[in-house]
Symmetry: C2
Subunit: 298 residues, 2 copies
């Protein structure tokens, strides 16, 4: 696959917040044709009116022979159904990629549906925004973000490199190449668990009207994500529940350890615990702010 | 006490980040003389050079007969020692207030040190910044913040109203009047617990180099305060440990409940839990963004 994006045609399936953001960002980097698929005609009309897609279709079948790259920005089961129905009609050399938050065995399962020469390479941009729908899409969400690439055994080195290249072109600052199990384990920690903690913190019996006089930045930032799409997050967390349950248990153990330090007034241990956390946070900030694009293998 | 701040002289004891911020904000609202006390001569020199205090002193004894209001921006034990040494020399009609994060029995204990006609009224501005020292002070930290006023039985209605008035003048959006036990309970929830959760989240065994490719805004915001002043926070949490320990237990129970919903795949209950959290967060955001200054009694 060429790194000259102007020579490639992209088909985005699912023109919501994420799909719309890809369309805008691809337009900004001078991609070839950008084709949009969505069951909502109004999303396609809006995208056409704003010039971020060249053509739109509610089914997408006519784009099958024309796109070099398909980017799926759909719930995983919907994506799987869409691909299953059309699997035999992708042309050899086509690359399919996705944006789903949990991978599990899905990448191999989709690969098995596809004819020889058609490759599915799982991806997960760590980018988003509050809200949903094309009207909330924003081509800048990739800037400074991480992009996770999750190859299975049949992916080719060339396509893995190409997707990292695309991530860089979209404005991402980091691309990590890792397997599905590691991806799901790390996401349980960096994304699933924070959403749970924010909700559990909000639902305290101590919460009351007038609390805003007692909340400074710490509470405000820590609960920002407590206002979430409850149906979507319930599905995402349930999909990852075995790994997530282990991550919660580990969190519970550490919290209990810290509570015991508090109860026995062990200042020395508590201070050391906080120093460890502070060091880690500074190291993470340092990584996040590193200016150079980095591709890492985990 | 007059609400015409230009007719009042203020003495700020402790010219660090918070004290310096008071000095700047008081200057901005046209307060009378602003007198600064700090053991560090360089902090006083800097404050003088920037024009935010009129006079500085490393001891402060000479300001005792000259200030109408003392604002203590010191660790509580240091404040208590400073006041004890000079208690008999405050003039009748003087108001003392503080900024300590935990109140307990401290307000009554300080009041008992003081001669008749001298009043200590505890306060806690929910304002701050990263870092420490006068060089990090900023007169705008009060803007939009809450200001907690914690009267004891011997405080007068006039001084309580006056302190709310000052909070409003400094730019605060809310003032809450409450007792020390409620203050400490709410702070355990809104400030102490978030710092603990941030540290516990950072100290996961899943943390590793390269994690920055997997962290989006949710993890970033939730762990912002994990880089903390470990010694200071250890002291603050230990001071509030009985109440805080109860708040942690309640958090543990809710987290366990949610984990069980996850493990038995109870989507309906989990979704309801998240909807409750979302509603609360929206209600809190609404309170925080309310434009009118409000004084509430909890």
């Amino acid at each position: 696959m060429t790194g000259d994006f102007s020579k490639l045609n992209f088909c985005i399936v699912g023109m919501g917040l994420i799909g719309g953001s890809y369309a805008r960002a691809l337009r900004n980097i001078g991609a070839g044709k950008i084709l949009g698929v969505d069951v909502r005609q109004d999303a396609l009309d809006a995208a056409l009116a704003e010039g971020c897609i060249d053509e739109g279709d509610t089914e997408g079948d006519r784009f099958l022979p024309r796109a070099d790259v398909f980017i799926f920005c759909l719930y995983a089961p919907v994506m799987k159904a869409w691909i299953t129905e059309r699997a035999s009609r992708f042309l050899p050399g086509t690359l399919l990629t996705d944006t789903a938050g949990i991978k599990g065995h899905m990448p191999e399962e989709i690969q098995q549906l596809l004819p020889a020469g058609v490759e599915f390479l799982a991806g997960h941009p760590m980018a988003g925004r509050e809200g949903q729908g094309f009207e909330k899409s924003d081509g800048t969400i990739f800037r400074g973000a991480g992009y996770i690439i999750v190859p299975h055994s049949r992916n080719t080195a060339g396509n893995i490199s190409w997707l990292a290249c695309l991530a860089r072109a979209l404005g991402c600052r980091r691309a990590a190449v890792t397997d599905a199990a590691s991806h799901d384990r790390l996401i349980a920690y960096t994304s699933d668990l924070p959403h749970i903690l924010a909700a559990v913190l909000m639902n305290s019996g101590t919460f009351r009207e007038g609390l805003s006089s007692f909340t400074a930045g710490s509470f405000h930032d820590m609960t920002r994500i407590a206002d979430m799409n409850s149906a979507l997050w319930t599905e995402l967390l349930m999909e990852n529940r075995d790994i997530l349950s282990g991550e919660i248990c580990a969190f519970q153990n550490r919290l209990e350890t810290l509570k015991q330090m508090l109860e026995r007034c062990d200042k020395k241990q508590m201070k050391a615990f906080f120093e460890e956390a502070s060091e880690r946070k500074r190291a993470l900030n340092h990584e996040e702010n590193s200016g150079q694009f980095k591709k890492i293998f985990l």
